[in-house]
Symmetry: C2
Subunit: 305 residues, 2 copies
Amino acid sequence: MEARKNNTGRLHQAPNIHLTKLNKDVLYHIAMDTETHNFKEMFSDIKYVCFGGSRTRMEKFAHYIAKELKVTIPAGLTFENIAKGTDRYVMYKVGPVISVSHGMGIPSLSIIFHEIVKLLHYAECSDVIFIRLGTCGGLGLAPGSVVISECAVDGALNPYMELVSLGKVQQLPSTTDADLAQQLLSLTNSKEDGFETLIGKTMCTLDFYEGQARLDGAFCDYTEEDKMAFLNRIYKEGVRNIEMESLCFAAYCNRANIKGAVVCVTLLDRLEGDQIDTPHDVMEEWQTRPKKLVAKLMKSELGIE
Amino acid sequence: MEARKNNTGRLHQAPNIHLTKLNKDVLYHIAMDTETHNFKEMFSDIKYVCFGGSRTRMEKFAHYIAKELKVTIPAGLTFENIAKGTDRYVMYKVGPVISVSHGMGIPSLSIIFHEIVKLLHYAECSDVIFIRLGTCGGLGLAPGSVVISECAVDGALNPYMELVSLGKVQQLPSTTDADLAQQLLSLTNSKEDGFETLIGKTMCTLDFYEGQARLDGAFCDYTEEDKMAFLNRIYKEGVRNIEMESLCFAAYCNRANIKGAVVCVTLLDRLEGDQIDTPHDVMEEWQTRPKKLVAKLMKSELGIE
């Protein structure tokens, strides 16, 4: 397999000097540690980390991307869930790709992001690309459309993530890598694909119901008019989809100096409704769209036909 | 099985008038809906909902509490994961108890909380108690101690959860039910139990590493002195443990007029370190402590010897 074009040899050093003082580092939520596992031996060839909320989806992605990248497995073997010592996340390694679940919401994504960056640091990886493959609500788009995030904004449209540490608030900018977003878009063709792929702003909320202006949660103290006014306002501001992890994903990629992209398929048009009630098999097909795009990116970069 | 003492007949109405306009309500993240499932037939006897982060722990809890409450299962049957149509959460029903996982962090807890409150609403349940059984970091406590939350505070010590909805911030008070906390405490005896159980303030953060003043994340821009000054300050303010869900759990129990308790076992003393590296079997035993206490509560209320 060829090396990826545009390599800079840039190592992923976890920007935390305290790590050098640890005799052993326990990556608790993936049940691994630097004493039991030789990260360099296991992971030094990693070039992509693909994140997604659902465990099952990321297991399926591992098998899918193996086929696409022609990663062969000797007879009698299969992919192991490397994080099997815990039930917090699942993690698979497929050649140069890690496929890992992140659960739902920023805190859950944040934990696995920290531990993956440390893993890559101990493995002395360079030039790794991070991609979140997700599902989301769309705005003014046919369900099944794919949105590549131009930047993430919070539930009040701020283009940064607020991190509370030692009781103080820091603002971490949440733009994504513009080149990588364009590179992904250039691999699509709405006519041939049969669905639209576009670059847009992504709103990232801490709550699925009220945070996303839904009327169908257990609690709701606003009217349908309030909801529509809000959704139309954020549409005018360029927001094309709403999900729950991109803000932290983009902000932490920036902090770690990692090229990152967020590629999500819309499961419904929030200007039309709140409930997700599309037949299972249709949604299954929609959820293959981000992974097909990411496979195209990897194959073009790695020179695989 | 006797009815619980102090029943008020109070129904759990989801305080959202918009729900009455839905022909069908899809509880998407547990893969159930009001058309396919008869919630009243399935769940009208529910008196307790027990939440916990880990899927495996909540499956084990279902089997444990069945034994404690003498809930028998006919030969050839076992407990079904009621949410098996999705991999987002697991959910079991054991007599009057629901055991459900909530994943990690406020957003993940928030989603399942909304859907459980709607489920109880459609089932026309009354006087249900919610309990979160969790793990946490302790402050100035021997690892393995159990903390019952007197209230939850955020990462800046505020006693409320900030909910961003329609771009505006609401503050939702996050005290817990004082009577229920005392009732739980009265069932403990540190001498006989062999470990301490206490009532204290719980800090709830959006991040496991920097949010909790750890030095061992991928990122860290403060010193060990800064960290210790912060932890000592929150200890002086009455904080005895730190976790990632109690703020939303307490705030939403208040909103839904549900009696709720948060019972967490400490896996380490944060005044002594950051890493969780206790042998697996020891941590397994510690994690049985909250569930034993909750079983005592249920047995005393339900009149089971």
